[in-house]
């Protein structure tokens, strides 16, 4: 089937198999390999992207479901050369080591901060990132980074 999606601002018409996942389309058809696959039970969050402004695990969404939607991936959050405040904060706070969970973590964190009316505290950040597994950092610096970025978003 053919679907039309806007990915990182660019409209794309993609031919996909009926059972293709959004993550497959992003990685294989569009070459956006920043969206990572870390599990097959939709529990690690490495594949998190934004669909119509909200964070979703792209491995749990059929490509067909995203038809007509607007997708933002890790490759699309910087404003040209200027990094997103969450990207800046992740680097400044050493919130990543191997970097594999990082795209999903950043995408989740951006939505977490953006969709909260009140500033979040550390505990809320920990709860909010519960769907993203990081095996490297112990989360300490990720929490710091999110709190830090929140001030600049």
């Amino acid at each position: 089937m053919k679907i039309n999606i806007t990915v990182n601002g660019a409209e794309q018409a993609v031919d996909v198999a009926d059972n293709a996942l959004l993550s497959d389309v992003l990685r294989d058809a569009l070459g956006l390999t920043g969206t990572h696959i870390g599990c097959d039970t939709s529990q690690c969050g490495a594949c998190t992207v934004h669909l119509d402004g909200r964070s979703v695990k792209s491995c749990t969404i059929l490509a067909g479901q995203a038809d007509g939607g607007e997708v933002t991936t890790i490759e699309g959050i910087a404003n040209g050369e200027e990094l997103h405040p969450m990207q800046v904060a992740f680097r400044a706070n050493h919130a990543l080591q191997c970097g594999f969970c990082t795209p999903g973590m950043i995408m989740s964190a951006i939505d977490l901060v953006a969709s909260s009316d009140e500033p979040l505290n550390a505990e809320q950040v920990r709860e909010g990132l519960e769907g993203n597994i990081c095996r490297c950092t112990g989360y300490h610096n990720i929490v710091k980074a999110v709190l830090d970025a929140q001030a600049n978003m």
Partner: protein
């Protein structure tokens, strides 16, 4: 020194630029022209004889190119997956290793063992093909339990009693004598729970063969591409060494599980030549659970002999270590040389005797996982010490203090083979107590109690031997490879530098740390240093990254190459100054000579090296590029004191880590930010082991914890903020005075957590993981 990027500065990481923008290149991100896809067909049985395999219907699936079985690899001369360290038993016999064909031929011995693989045009076709492969199995009785494996059905034809070896270390008689004199003996039965490493990037491999040049290229998720190449070439015999290039691009975490040479990379590289096209494989997480080497899984009886005043007199440890179904690449060394040798801990216990029996079961192979042997050793020693203090009615801190190896005793020869070069255990303990606000503990405990909660506190003073390893020592002990590291420092004409290292970064940040070292020593900008790793085609033979060895061994190799660069620079400068090289100084990026007021910056000498106008070419070769191999003369001995406070809700059994303090002595530190990050990650895995993680096989050998639904990974809301600090006694035998920090957190933390939990509950032992259910049951039983 540059305050932002020099040695000792928390320089922000170079590699982050690609990772935070999604531009990392992990194995599965790489696609090559003509690529095909591979899916492995895995045994659903823990133990069975393969009577026949039917591949015909798989071949009929549209898009399937070939279905391979193990017999074809054997027929083609492909060898077994070897174990690289021969451990010798008490009786002088070498360990017994079963045959381990990459793709099973006659028998399958654990659920998930591959017995065929399907190569197809698309991943979907490969999956469909794999589902269509069927085998006729004669199911045999599975052996699953570590403790009773030796008296269970014999798994391998050549391995009696399912025992790989029965090893010992230390003086048995002296230890028995110490126990005979003791006023008090503390004993514990300890189970060190099986863990599944779970790097978030699943293992992957992309193999291709170029018929024109007869060369093989393997991209894979390896922590040590050079070792992978050597093993595949010399042991498995997939390709001649000269024709095989192994590349580990960005790798998403390893924690030990990506050290080993596995069936899958062997299969794709071999089969790519058979079909004449590149083959890609990436594990599903379900496959990772089944087929990555697991960690820990010990059953131990441990006893500590003490005098009435708390002096530690002797230690006796008997461990059964589960190896899984086969001996994985370095598995045999883990419960022996990386375990028994650590039993002295930070203490001057005079007599120690350790026995380890390594057994086979019908479970996934067990090998090194973060800490590898040393977390298990620390757990034994530190649980014993804390329990002994409680039994003697002593303060556990005090008991440790009176037994610490004093600072004036270094170098200290332990009764279990190692010689510690330096340390100051009381200093890290003092700092940890201060950070943990030890004085305020009773008030916090009272507050918890007032709120209906149980509060407990536990300590753990670990030591590790890392910076693997002095080659001649480990070769004597049965290792099959030397453990030096290589480095090449290539200076460009403009004075910028490219470093090729045999170490491999899969999260450790070598591109940054090594660049700091180089820029600091050469006095050149941090941004003009590039670090290249993970490609056997570009760097010299090296041994890769594990065992907290990269800075201590790999960094020292770079440092040694830098010495050579500076020495040659001095020679060139001497000609420019018209003096001799012993008259030339090098500091802050400048070559200077007392007889001249015009020092020469490093870049100018680099230029002169490549434009050889000023020096005689019969004395000095042109160019400025040096190599070094560094072989350490001893292990390094990071050590530290950890304090954990827990608060337990007795109504639910839920444990909250209220405080976690880690004070580590890593000697000199190049980048404190990175080092702290390593400690955080290690602690998270240690707390994971203590509270959450458990790899469980049911009695028929199915992995019952085979997904993130059943294997509890630490998530953000399971963990606290950590308080991390350091003390420093620089390593005495490497040029940088560094020790290594990658494993410490995972080594020190489980005992601290479990000591705190047993303190809170007032019980002698609780088995890991202390899940709410376990804790709640312990409270109900009141034992």
């Amino acid at each position: 020194m540059n305050a932002e990027t020099g040695i000792g500065a928390s320089a922000l990481r170079k590699e982050d630029a690609r990772f935070i923008t999604g531009k990392g290149q992990y194995t599965d991100d790489i696609n090559v022209f003509g690529q095909t896809f591979c899916v492995f067909v895995r045994s659903p049985h823990a133990r069975a004889k393969i009577k026949s395999i039917d591949t015909a219907s798989a071949m009929a699936v549209a898009g399937v190119i070939r279905v391979f079985t193990g017999d074809e690899l054997t027929a083609d001369g492909i060898g077994d997956l070897p174990c690289g360290w021969v451990v010798t038993s008490k009786d002088g016999n070498p360990m017994v290793a079963p045959a381990h064909p990459p793709i099973a031929t006659e028998f399958v011995n654990y659920v998930g063992e591959p017995y065929a693989f399907v190569v197809a045009e698309t991943l979907q076709a490969a999956r469909d093909g794999a589902e269509a492969v069927s085998a006729d199995f004669e199911v045999l009785e599975a052996v699953v339990d570590t403790g009773t494996a030796t008296s269970s059905a014999q798994i391998h034809e050549n391995v009696a009693n399912n025992q790989a070896y029965d090893w010992e270390l230390g003086d048995k008689d002296a230890t028995d004598a110490a126990f005979a004199q003791a006023d008090h003996v503390t004993s514990l039965d300890i189970v060190n729970n099986r863990l599944i490493p779970n790097a978030i990037e699943p293992r992957a491999a992309l193999g291709s063969y170029d018929a024109a040049s007869q060369t093989y290229t393997l991209y894979t998720t390896s922590q040590n591409p050079h070792v992978e190449r050597v093993v595949l070439a010399l042991f498995v015999q997939v390709a001649p060494e000269a024709n095989l290039r192994v590349i580990s691009p960005d790798v998403g975490g390893g924690f030990g599980s990506k050290i080993f040479v596995y069936a899958e990379e062997t299969a794709v590289i071999w089969a790519s030549a058979k079909i004449g096209r590149p083959i890609k494989w990436r594990a599903d997480r379900s496959e990772s659970f089944l087929s990555d080497a697991h960690g820990r899984d010990h059953v131990t009886k441990a006893e500590l002999a003490l005098s009435s005043s708390g002096e530690m007199l002797g230690l006796r440890v008997k461990t059964i270590a589960n190896m899984g179904a086969y001996l994985s690449t370095f598995s045999s060394s883990v419960p022996t040389y990386l375990y028994g040798t650590l039993m002295a801990g930070q203490y001057k216990t005079p007599a120690i005797y350790v026995e380890t029996q390594a057994v086979f079961t019908n479970t996934a192979p067990v090998d090194a996982y973060r800490g590898a042997g040393r977390p298990e050793a620390t757990y034994v020693v530190e649980r014993l010490v804390e329990t002994a203090a409680r039994e003697l009615g002593m303060d556990p801190v005090e008991l440790r203090r009176i037994n610490f190896i004093p600072t004036d005793a270094f170098p200290y020869q332990t009764p279990v083979a190692l010689q510690y070069d330096t340390g100051n255990y009381a200093a890290s303990m003092a700092k940890a107590l201060e950070l943990a606000d030890s004085d305020g503990y009773m008030a916090r405990k009272a507050a918890s109690e007032a709120a209906g909660k149980l509060r407990g506190r536990g300590y753990s003073c670990y030591i590790e031997a890392c910076g693997l390893a002095p080659s001649q020592l480990v070769l004597q002990l049965g290792a099959g490879v030397g453990l030096f590291e290589s480095a090449e420092v290539r200076v460009d004409v403009s004075g910028s530098v490219t470093v090729m290292t045999g170490s491999h970064s899969h999260g450790q940040g070598h591109e940054t740390t090594f660049a700091q070292l180089v820029s600091d020593r050469l006095g050149i900008p941090f941004d003009s240093v590039n670090v290249i790793h993970g490609d056997t085609g570009r760097s010299d033979y090296g041994l890769g990254t594990y065992g907290s060895r990269s800075i201590a061994v790999g960094g020292s190799a770079i440092d040694k190459a830098l010495d050579k660069i500076i020495a040659k620079g001095k020679k060139i400068a001497a000609h420019m100054f018209e003096t001799t090289d012993d008259q030339v100084d090098f500091a802050d990026g400048q070559f200077s000579y007392a007889g001249s007021n015009e020092p020469k910056p490093f870049a100018e000498i680099a230029g002169a090296a490549y434009i050889p106008a000023v020096y005689p070419l019969d004395e000095l070769e042109p160019g400025l590029s040096e190599k070094a191999f560094y072989d350490p003369s001893n292990f390094t001995y990071p050590a530290g004191s950890y304090v954990c406070e827990v608060e337990i809700d007795p109504t639910t059994g839920e444990t909250d880590i209220a405080k976690f303090v880690a004070v580590d002595d890593f000697g000199n530190v190049i980048n404190p930010m990175i080092v702290e990050g390593q400690v955080h990650g290690g602690i998270a895995q240690g707390i994971g082991q203590a509270l959450l993680e458990h790899g469980i096989y049911d009695s028929s050998g199915n992995l019952a914890t085979g997904s993130y639904m059943d294997y509890a990974m630490p998530r953000a809301d399971d963990l606290p903020d950590f308080q991390v600090d350091m003390t420093s006694t620089p390593c005495t035998h490497n040029p940088l005075g560094v020790k290594g920090c990658g494993e410490a957190g995972a080594i020190g933390s489980p005992a601290a957590v479990m000591n705190a939990i047993t303190d809170a509950l007032g019980v002698k032992d609780v088995s890991m993981p202390a899940t709410p259910q376990t804790v709640w049951q312990t409270i109900q039983q009141g034992t």
